[in-house]
Symmetry: C2
Subunit: 125 residues, 2 copies
DNA sequence: GCTTTACATATGTAATTTGCATATAATGGC
DNA sequence: GCCATTATATGCAAATTACATATGTAAAGC
């Protein structure tokens, strides 16, 4: 069923790059294990990388010296590092928000799922 | 910065409806406080409600007897309640996944955020 | 009574994102 | 040379989202 993080791909890419420079294909390989997604779209990864580059979060350099076909090697910029840190904060906020929501939604045990809802309870800030 | 839950709107609507029947405008009012979003699109809420109805998760009934203009009052079905429970599980999985990711990304304290990630490749200052 | 404002639902559509397919090209093994 | 693999990239339809606008009723003000 549908419950995924929106634009989780970008922070995941930054996370992988924070671990060292890499090229797209390599990132593509390591992404599923990180995000838990079964299928990661090839084209969208490259598009995301170009987007991150346009935003100044990564820099790329063509490397023909490495074995195999020419690769575009991406490296985090300091802006990218800062953005990643900010994204982590944001994700943490999201996680905490989810926790609050889940606690709310599950309060009263299973009556949310089985019994008619209580007439009073409303989630107030 | 961008880090939101995708399709969080539907479970949020189900959550509000689990608390008792309501009409669209009312849900629209209570939604931002629940999801933390500043602006909730009016049209999309009604579209989401119709979607939920087509999936059999909610039922609606026009009420002209209530004060004010005629309202369409939505009520959770048992399928809706089940779907909500399932969504909660899904969200919980997401939350736990986020926790794992954050622990990973933050391991080693703040060095992810401040220090060069690895000696292998860093853009020279 | 008539006008204005608030309530309530709904449609239209442009922009963005996603998923899926396909193109291109270089390398290495045979 | 031929072919599978590695590597990057584009094209496009479908789905989603954001923004605007339309429609109609009821309450409030004068």
């Amino acid at each position: 069923m549908r419950a995924r993080v929106e634009r989780f791909g970008e922070p995941a890419l930054l996370f992988l790059l924070a671990d060292g420079s890499a090229h797209g294909y390599e990132l593509l390989d390591r992404l599923p294990a990180l995000t838990g997604e079964e299928r990661v779209d090839v084209g969208n990864v490259y598009r995301a990388l170009r987007g991150l580059e346009q935003e100044g979060f990564v820099e790329s350099e063509w490397r023909a010296d490495l074995p195999g076909p020419a690769k575009r090697t991406y490296t985090l910029t300091s802006e990218g590092r800062a953005a990643f840190a900010s994204w982590l904060d944001s994700l943490e906020g999201l996680r905490d928000g989810l926790t609050v929501f889940l606690d709310h939604a599950r309060k009263g045990g299973d009556d949310v799922r089985t019994a008619p809802p209580s007439p009073v309870a409303s989630p107030e800030p």
